[in-house]
């Protein structure tokens, strides 16, 4: 599954790069001022898209609910925080996640529903779809024989892919047997 691995690595690094490279949207910064109740004025929250140097009560709290002399007292109680986010990262992440999930779902549907149907139709033709006959071979020497004799590389790409996929399916089946059927691991 080297291709899967490479795709994953690519995704991870794209992700890290994108998060640094994404341009700062003006909407992605804000200053949030929380002002507690004062006399008969209720508690309020004020938000504005200003930068760090303008993030204080005087710039953000508009319209000022108190006048003149009380402004300072009111502003002293307000707490202003500068916040930044990266909406580009969020967008890229969610889209990437949903696309991977979609691909996996399609592959799952293919594996569970379509392939058995195709198998039944092409039963006579294909040599590629074999039953798992060399799994769990109890004879240690036969196994070692298999191992050491499998040194010829298959020049055909399609055969290689098919072979890799078969091996992966066998491994997953073994894992499934261990976990779900015999409850040997991960109960």
């Amino acid at each position: 599954m080297k291709s899967v691995f490479l795709v994953e690595v690519l995704c991870v690094f794209c992700f890290v790069l994108l998060s640094q490279v994404t341009a700062k949207n003006s909407e992605d910064i804000r200053c949030k001022c929380i002002c507690p109740p004062y006399r008969d004025i209720e508690g309020q929250i004020y938000k504005q898209n200003v930068s760090l140097k303008d993030c204080n009560c005087l710039h953000v709290v508009e319209p000022m609910p108190v006048d003149g002399k009380d402004v300072e007292a009111y502003c002293l109680r307000c707490e202003c925080k500068y916040e930044e986010r990266s909406s580009g990262t969020i967008k890229v992440t969610i889209i990437m996640y949903l696309s991977i999930l979609g691909l996996l779902l399609l592959y799952m549907v293919y594996l569970t529903l379509l392939e058995p149907m195709l198998k039944r139709r092409l039963f006579g033709h294909s040599q590629l779809i074999q039953s798992d006959d060399d799994v769990g071979d109890q004879q240690p020497f036969a196994n070692a024989h298999n191992v050491l004799s499998r040194s010829h590389s298959r020049p055909n790409m399609l055969n290689k892919v098919e072979h890799a996929q078969q091996r992966w399916r066998r491994q997953v089946q073994e894992q499934r047997k261990s976990v779900f059927d015999r409850h040997v691991v991960l109960s």
Binding site: Q44, K81, I90, T93, L105, P140, V172, R176
Partner: protein, 795 residues
């Protein structure tokens, strides 16, 4: 070496299940796998003839579900290091290679930290979004969750801060109205629908693509780090499926967390990257150093607690933790935390997960409720471990475990149906914890903070003195009690489902709820009885005395400590999570109390209990062996068993050797000088013998069934017409560990633990008597503790 009969354990996985060094891979990966010797002194390489022998490919690798030989791996590594160092001065190229070799360790942990941080960022963002998908959608930008959608809105009044025009709940979208009973029912229905579909997707993906991706992962990683091999457990598909389904499982509202699975994800990254460097890919012991560092990185990104992560790796996960691993773990945790922080898309408000903003002092008398919370934590921990193990055992052994998909859907349905009406269980568990940790500030509008104010309208707002609870607080307390009971019950059934599930966040939630309830109770006690001695000493009337948020924090730490039995790492994680450095002493008091109370009921934490349930061959370094048995009472063969299967050093033919291998199922055979003298020569492993014989039949001419097999340096004298003999000295371990039959078992267990042995030969007066394997020791310990010795499955 004894092993289960083939009938009891028919699964002898010779070609393994995974995608890393099964037997098939060996010819492709070249001939660098062999060692010059079975694992000790490299004396045989000095002989001329040995130089002509090429190393046998495949010798030195391990089967699935077997334990590695730590001694052999460490020797291999030292040999490799010596070779590189000796060639260092030859040329610039060799020097560069030696530099590369020295630095490859740091490179691996850097890559692991980067990947863990990136994946944790992805999981965080996606889980937050999908969680809010149960409630509604953001129409202007579909990829924003509720908080981000309303980020730029201009609603100023405090009551309206959660509403904004762009965020529409499902009832609003489908029915067109936001309030009213019809929309409540529609919201309820959509919540259940989304929860069920996420849970169903998660379990289907796990079942179809990577069955090893379910569960927490920490028990299996503990076992792997102690030397066990589970092929495919840390593979690429497991990594991908675990990442994807973790998001789905968290979003479906099940009572689970993502910390344990994040450790698994980080270890998968570590394993995958270690295959890029031959120093780590070919040596199982070195690979485990990388995995220790990776687990530190995993906890670091799960909590944003790098130091806590290193301590967690030290205390909880790793088996051998030399100083070098400490530095590497430190570095990996640092890199991972840095990456996560730099990706952090939610702005500065999320740097620390549950940041506590109060710095009020705590008083000495508050230690009493803190210790009570510790006792609660210990009791709950013991109860949870027993209940969860009983449930998992039932799932494992009865027909009930045959329907994993149905079970997940059922649990998710019950959780969703019961969780929706209570606002404290409907929200994300992390948000609940955050709300409970936060003390009531001036603008808190949650029900928990609706105290009855005593001042009349003209007096200015005073900062939160002790006040009597208003009706809002009482109703909140009721809801919290119900939430507590619900979470306690559901977590028992949720941990162990066939989806990725972690335990930290639910335990912390339970503790936080209990702590907050106790905190509010003490606060009200202090208000109504402010003339009691205790309160009069420390609390002034009208002053802020009790912070219930602190009690929630202490309760969370106590419950987590009660269930996992962590001590130092837990305290460090909690104060890194909250930033509350003033509160270390109460945390420590509560954690110690919960550990003592929990240990009174059973010495194992949840992870050790799961290891024992699965029968993994994990020799716990924390337990002491205090019985007075001797080695000869534990060794095999017993009196009633057939005699020990041994090989003689130059008497056997290939055919006889093959029949010994075929008829028995032992993992290794001692080699003796002759049947009369029974003096020990060495130890040979089954896998190595089979590979060597097959290899010889292919590569060497004239090896036939009646060829003599010899383990000595020189071939025995044979008649002139006999076929060419087969030399198997290179696979023989010339330095097996031996003890005498009168050695106390305490020492034997200590040797096994400290050296990481798999088997140890027993001699009597210099002659070979029997063998003790790790499985025998585990069985013996189980027998001594009156547990079922047959539950030890692997060796």
């Amino acid at each position: 070496m004894e092993e289960e009969d083939a009938a009891a354990d028919p699964y002898l996985p010779y070609d393994g299940g995974g995608d890393t060094i099964p037997l098939q891979e060996i010819p492709r990966r070249g001939s660098n796998y062999a060692m010059s010797n079975g694992g000790g002194v490299a004396s045989s390489t000095t002989h001329l003839l040995d130089f002509l022998e090429e190393p046998i490919p495949g010798v030195g690798t391990y089967d699935d579900f077997h334990t590695i030989d730590w001694v052999r791996e460490k020797c291999k590594d030292r040999e490799r290091h010596r070779k590189i160092n000796s060639k260092k001065k030859e040329s610039a190229w060799e020097f560069t290679k030696s530099l590369y070799d020295a630095w490859s360790g740091w490179l691996v942990v850097t890559l692991t930290g980067l990947a863990s941080g990136a994946l944790a960022g992805l999981i965080d963002i996606a889980a937050d979004w999908m969680n809010d998908l149960k409630e509604g959608v953001c129409l202007s930008a579909m990829w924003f969750n509720h908080e981000q959608c309303c980020w730029t809105s201009n609603e100023t009044t405090f009551a309206e801060r959660d509403k904004c025009p762009q965020w529409k709940s499902w009832a609003e979208l489908i029915l067109g109205q936001a309030e009213g009973p019809g929309s409540y029912i529609m919201n309820y229905f959509m919540y259940i629908y989304w929860a069920l579909s996420f849970a169903f997707l998660a379990v289907c993906l796990v079942k179809v693509f990577a069955p090893y991706a379910c569960g927490s992962g920490i028990p299996e990683i503990k076992t792997i780090l102690s030397g066990f091999i589970i092929r495919g457990y840390l593979g690429k598909w497991t990594l991908m499926i675990k990442t994807i389904t973790l998001v789905l499982a968290v979003a479906s509202g099940l009572s689970l967390g993502k910390e344990g699975p994040l450790v698994h994800v980080a270890c998968c990254c570590g394993n995958i990257f270690s295959y890029l460097f031959p120093k780590y890919s070919k040596n199982e012991a070195k690979k485990r150093e990388v995995l220790s560092a990776a687990s530190a990185a995993g906890v670091s990104v799960a909590f944003g607690a790098p130091i806590g992560g290193v301590l967690f790796s030290l205390e909880e996960v790793s088996y051998y933790f030399p100083l070098k691993t400490l530095w590497r773990s430190f570095f990996a945790a640092l890199v991972a935390a840095f990456v996560l922080r730099s990706i952090n898309p939610f702005g500065n408000s999320r740097l620390v997960l549950f940041y506590v903003e109060y710095h009020t002092p705590w008083y000495l008398f508050e230690l009493i409720p803190f210790i009570l919370l510790g006792v609660f934590g210990g009791l709950w921990g013991a109860f949870f471990i027993r209940a969860n193990i009983a449930w998992c055992r039932r799932r494992k052994s009865t027909r009930f475990g045959k329907y994993p998909v149905l079970e997940v859907i059922l649990v998710a349905a019950i959780t969703a149906v019961v969780a929706f009406p209570n606002p404290y269980t409907r929200q994300n568990t992390s948000e609940l914890i955050k709300e409970l940790f936060t003390d009531c500030g001036p603008l808190e509008s949650s029900q928990l903070c609706q105290y009855r104010s005593q001042m009349n309208g003209s007096k200015a707002f005073t900062d939160n003195p002790n006040r009597p609870a208003g009706p809002g607080v009482y109703s909140a307390m009721w809801q919290l009690c119900l939430a507590l009971i619900f979470k306690i019950i559901m977590t028992i059934f949720t941990f162990g489902l066939k989806v990725p599930s972690g335990l930290f966040i639910p335990s912390m939630a339970i503790g936080a709820i209990a702590g907050r309830i106790v905190g509010i109770a003490v606060e009200q006690l202090a208000y109504y009885h402010h003339d009691w001695f205790l309160f009069k000493e420390w609390c002034e009337v009208g002053a802020d005395c009790i912070t219930p948020g602190l009690y929630a924090m202490v309760g969370a730490a106590a419950c987590l400590g009660g269930v996992t039995r962590m001590t130092v790492s837990l305290v460090v994680i909690v104060f890194e999570l909250t930033g509350g450095l003033e509160y270390i002493v109460p945390l420590m008091a509560a954690v110690m109390t919960s550990k003592w109370v929990g240990d009174a009921f059973g010495r194992e934490g949840i992870y050790e209990a799961h290891i024992r349930l699965n029968g993994y061959p994990f020799l716990d370094a924390k337990e002491e062996f205090t019985h007075t048995t001797l080695a000869r009472e534990v060794m095999r063969p017993r009196r009633s068993d057939p005699p020990l299967a041994v090989l003689t050093q130059d008497d056997l033919t290939v055919e006889e050797l093959q029949s010994v291998i075929n008829e028995t199922s032992y993992n290794g055979f001692p080699v003796i000088v002759s049947k009369e003298s029974q003096r020990l020569v060495g130890f040979a492993l089954r896998r190595d013998i089979t590979i060597a014989i097959e290899n010889a039949r292919r590569k060497q001419e004239g090896i036939m069934l009646n060829s003599r097999v010899y383990f000595t340096q020189h071939a025995p004298t044979l008649p002139a017409d006999s076929p060419r003999p087969l030399k198997l000295r290179s696979i023989l371990d010339m330095s097996p560990f031996t003890v005498t039959d009168h050695t106390p078992m305490e020492i034997v267990v200590d040797i096994f633990r400290k050296l990481g042995l798999r088997q140890c030969l027993v001699t009597h007066n210099g002659r070979l008597l029997g063998i003790i394997t790790k499985k025998d020791i585990l069985r013996h310990m189980a027998q001594m503790a009156n547990q079922d010795p047959e539950s030890i499955m692997f060796n």
